[in-house]
Amino acid sequence: MTTFADAATSFIERQPNAHDRRRAWAAFEALGLPTTTDEVWRYAPLSELSLDRFASTTSSAARADSAIVDGLVAHAGLVVRVVDGVVTSTGTALEGVSVTAEATVSDEALAQRYADDAFAQLNAALAPTTITVRVARGVRVARPVVIVHRTEGSVSFPRTVVALEEGADATLVEYYEGGKDALVVPMSEYHVGENAELRLVTYQRLDPSAWHVARSTGVIARDGRLLQAVIGLGGYYDRSRNDAVLAGAGSHNELRTTFLGAQSQVHDFRTHQLHLGAHSSSVLLSKGAVTDESRSIYTGLIEIEHGARRTDARQTNHNLLLSPRAHADSVPNLDIRENDVRCAHASSVGPLDELQRWYLESRGVTPSDAQRLMIRGFYNEMLVALPAQLAHLVENDVTAVLESVTAVAS
């Protein structure tokens, strides 16, 4: 039987830049998979994770686009298609936007940056291609750039780099689907230039059996804006770490994470906002619901470096418990090394408000409809904040998923 290590080594040796990949693989082997004794992996069902499960090279048959992909494509200005981390189409060129797919280079700098992250090292060793989307200086891209990631095999290591040059403005969607019994480990980096604005939607709709361990990092230059929405609906274990470095003065980051957990799903969200620039600001809002035996974790760290004066950082996390067996943890952290700042955090964990529900029922609304309306209401502020072309599409999709969940719950 082929082990995961055999398959990985054989893949690496076939690549042009095997040297760097070997180093990343060695780093991964040295780190080993994390265990639940690591605080940051405490809630992951790691005892069930054996990489050898993902060693098979069989691929599920390519399938027709899902309705959600059709919807995204209909609204897109440019569509990039990626299967198992390999770019299959870079779409039709758009003025001022370049899309390239090249063999991944995992240089020393990258290895250093993710030195303590075993999954990032796996991606560095095994990502077949790096997709780079670059928006030229001052270009405003009218319609969204959509990257459709499908996982058809047992593993997928997508690598994406998005760079907006000075004054550029774009909307980008990274959409993930497929991944039955697969391991999906995306790694993305976003470079937002001076005075540029990137609106980003990371939409995870993987198969409920998939392991999804994602990491993204945004680096924002002076007066740049990164507005990121992360939506996690799929996966068996859905881990999503989204970091931002507010490097320039006046840089701004908004991160809205939305999730819905059912059955024994785990949604594990980590954020790290690092404020370096003066007058930088960040707004984090995480809202999710868990039902059945599912569980969610939100751990957010806001770090304000000395010199990041007049920084304004807020994080809010609300969790809705829709079943007595569901569980949510919320751990907001602050690490502040500058006096002249404004920081705030708030979190809540609880069921739907009983009196609000009664109030709706006392108008003649059935209990299940009252629950449905209130859950939709809970997600409303997340959905209305999405880029206008996508809000309706995503709202319909989330609503459809909610209906299936609430139908079971009521």
Binding site: L355, Q356, W358, L360, S362, R363, G364, V365, N380
Partner: protein
């Protein structure tokens, strides 16, 4: 169509304290009944118990609507059977729009926005506030009138209004009272208005007035009873309650 709402010997406990202690009232469709009483007499408890609010435990007694046992029904079923309560403090439900609530409550979606707008104008409410989430960022008076819109659209057989006059200025109160009087005529809505101010009665002409004290009705009469209350206050009625206890 004639219809009867009958409340008999109702005892209700809230937080382990008996608040309603044998409340009786009987009314028919198209009638306007007003319950008056000082603070703490149990008026709001009656409204909440009729709407099945969690925490309001009926210890004994019966409530029937055309012979059906209201207390055996869920809050939803009570509203759908035609008993609707407008609260003294309507709750905010963030993220949920009144239109969607009315549709879920059984209102015909065809022409609904138009009907909501018409009902809003009848109680001098700016229809635009109904586009906001339910009662969110509405003043106390706007919430009261938003509840009147619900009643106007859903047309319950009986509308119980808890302190509908609080938060409303004289003009708005007049409009609300006129809307209620019209409802009694339009679809024979039975109106049970709870208040501790007589000013509601300047526009809403009651069929019967009931004076409440210490959890039960201590006096019932015609509109002239309001004048007695105006002159003598609630004190003589308190005494009557103490004697009968």
């Amino acid at each position: 169509m004639s219809s009867q709402l009958v409340i008999e010997d109702l005892h209700v406990e809230v937080g382990g304290v008996l608040v309603l202690k044998g409340f009786d009232l009987s009314m028919g469709s198209g009638e306007v009944h007003v319950i008056m009483g000082p603070n703490g007499s149990g008026k709001s408890t009656l409204a909440h118990a009729l709407a099945g609010r969690p925490g309001y435990r009926v210890v004994s007694g019966t409530v029937s609507l055309d012979g059906a046992d209201v207390l055996a029904l869920s809050p939803t079923e009570r509203a759908r059977a035609g008993l609707m309560v407008a609260l003294q403090q309507p709750l905010e439900v963030p993220g949920v729009r009144p239109y969607d609530v009315l549709v879920a409550a059984g209102a015909d979606p065809s022409g609904l926005r138009g009907r909501m707008g018409d009902e809003a104008r009848r109680v001098e409410l700016n229809p635009d506030v109904l586009d906001r989430f339910m009662n969110v960022d509405l003043s106390g008076g706007e919430r009261k009138r938003a509840e009147m819109v619900q009643i106007g659209v859903l047309r319950p057989r009986y509308a119980v209004l808890d302190e509908i006059d609080s938060g409303l200025d004289v003009d708005a109160l007049g409009a609300v009272a006129r809307r209620l009087s019209a409802a009694a005529g339009e679809w024979g809505c039975g109106i049970l208005a709870i208040t501790h101010f007589r000013r509601l009665l300047s526009e809403l002409v009651p069929t019967r007035i009931h004076v409440m004290s210490d959890g039960r009705v201590v006096a019932t009469g015609g509109p002239e009873l309001a004048e007695v209350l105006e002159r003598d206050g609630y004190e003589p009625f308190r005494a009557r309650a103490a004697e009968s206890a």
